[in-house]
Amino acid sequence: MSQAVNIVLDRRQSKVRAPSLRLGALRGVVAPLVLLALWQFISARGLVSSLVLPSPVQVLVALRGLAESGLLASSIAISLRRLFLGYALGVAIGLPLGVLLAASSLARKLIGPSFYATARVPLLAWVPFLMVIFGIGEVLKLFIIAKAVLTPVTMNTERAIAAIPAGWRELGRMYRLSAFTSARRILLPATILPVFVGLRFGLIQAWSVLIVVELLASTRGLGFQLTMARQLFQLDTMMALMLVIGVIGFVLDRGLALAERVLVRQYGGGA
């Protein structure tokens, strides 16, 4: 039962330690640059056919081609729209569900087992099921993303609330804090960080699963363009799209990591 949450934490912990800034920043660029140069050399010399391994320059040219045709912008817009709609739906269900599970022991007993059982079935196995139910349109993407977000958000919210020390609640009662004040002064500081971890992990999950669904069943979006390029054997376009997908994932993750740091500063180490 705790496994999914463990994985959530593992992901966070397994961040490779950043190299020290003085030398490290430089050193970190060396290996990628050397690889890039080697890659350019190999394909420019024709050691490997550019059909199998297009050169970095070719990838950049393909990227520019995608950008100029407007396809890149429209695909990014479509994928991001799906991501945010599904994410919003997942959070809108996940947060209240987590609160409910933590607050009511009846809800915990009634809904908890079903929730955790469905959470144990991997998202990937949900895909064909949801495809039968919803077809392969927009609704499918919306629900699969919402499902990806729902699990970590609900779990982390429930755990965070359940972990509030009993003493804190008592304090709130002793001082006869209003519901609003105690939510603001006790509930929020105690839970915001773990809940945020769930939100962040959920976003990364959602981005991955969106690409899966777009690769599998879609007629628009970045994942679909990747499939198209695959069918046309345009490896330069494929790599350009992978780059874009990676960068978006990176930016999303970094953005939330930054927000997390601000929260840590504001609310300390949490409970």
Binding site: G24, P32, L110, G112, V121, M131, L226, G246, F250
Partner: protein
């Protein structure tokens, strides 16, 4: 008494859903050919289990998963050790590792299918990669978790490198490595299902469920889904057991 009450409360929701679903199907409120019914799902389990093709699919998937995961673990542990032990190597490759983390894993599928082919080789390589990454990262963490005084001891005693590896590094990093292997089992299983979705169709439980989806056999899809989920849970339990057993054997090294 209390346990019975908890259990029945937990079962109430799925049962209610099943009853409603069955009632809707029996009264023709929903189209059974499209939406199936709980009874049909149970029957689908029966027909699947009686069908030799299902067992071929399942064993093919398991063999594929085992092969790919093993390869990934074998590659991931030494790489993780090197990256964990050498600050310089780590600094060199940190950006690449970070990049590997942020590119959603399935994004690699189209490219891999061009490079390694869409057949069995491509699938195995994909699974191996999926299994290798968590092993790699957890092994690095494991090396980091080795107590500094144990490292100091190495300098004091001037142990031979092989001895250091066997007596200090491997036992010290064992919790991390095992956690990585645990994750590799889960990721390897997921990658197996995914590989069967994306790569060339062939025998496998992922191919089985996708085939059923194309025919709109919701009952078979649900049955397969439960089988896939159960195998994941079994792998999890197995890995958890191995992890605990091993770390107990090491004694005192567990985190």
């Amino acid at each position: 008494m209390n346990r019975v009450a908890t259990l029945s409360l937990g079962l109430a929701l799925p049962l209610a859903v099943a009853v409603l679903w069955q009632a809707a199907a029996s009264t023709n409120l929903i189209d059974v050919t499209q939406w199936a019914s709980p009874v049909l799902v149970v029957q689908a389990f029966g027909t699947q289990f009686a069908d030799p093709q299902f067992w071929t699919d399942l064993s093919d998937s398991l063999v594929r998963a085992a092969l790919g995961t093993t390869l990934g673990v074998i590659a991931g542990i030494p790489l993780g050790l090197v990256l964990g032990l050498s600050r310089h190597v780590r600094a060199l490759f940190a950006p690449i590792l970070d990049a590997a983390k942020v590119i959603p894993f399935f994004t690699w599928v189209p490219l891999l299918s061009v490079w390694a082919g869409s057949g069995e080789t491509g699938k195995i390589i994909f699974i191996a990669l999926a299994a290798a990454l968590p092993v790699l990262f957890s092994t690095i963490e494991g090396v980091f978790s080795i107590q500094p005084r144990h490292r100091e001891l190495v300098h004091l005693l001037r142990l031979r490198p092989v001895t250091v590896l066997r007596r200090v590094i491997l036992p010290g990093a064992a919790p991390g490595i095992l956690r990585g292997v645990h994750l590799a089992l889960l990721y390897g299983w997921l990658a197996t299902i995914g590989a069967e979705y994306f790569f060339e169709a062939g025998p496998g439980i992922g191919g089985n469920i996708m085939g059923a989806r194309e025919l709109y056999e919701l009952d078979v899809v649900v049955a397969d889904m439960i089988v896939i989920g159960l195998i994941g849970i079994l792998l999890d339990i197995l890995a958890h057991g191995v992890e605990r057993y091993w770390l107990r054997g090491q004694g005192g090294h567990s985190a």
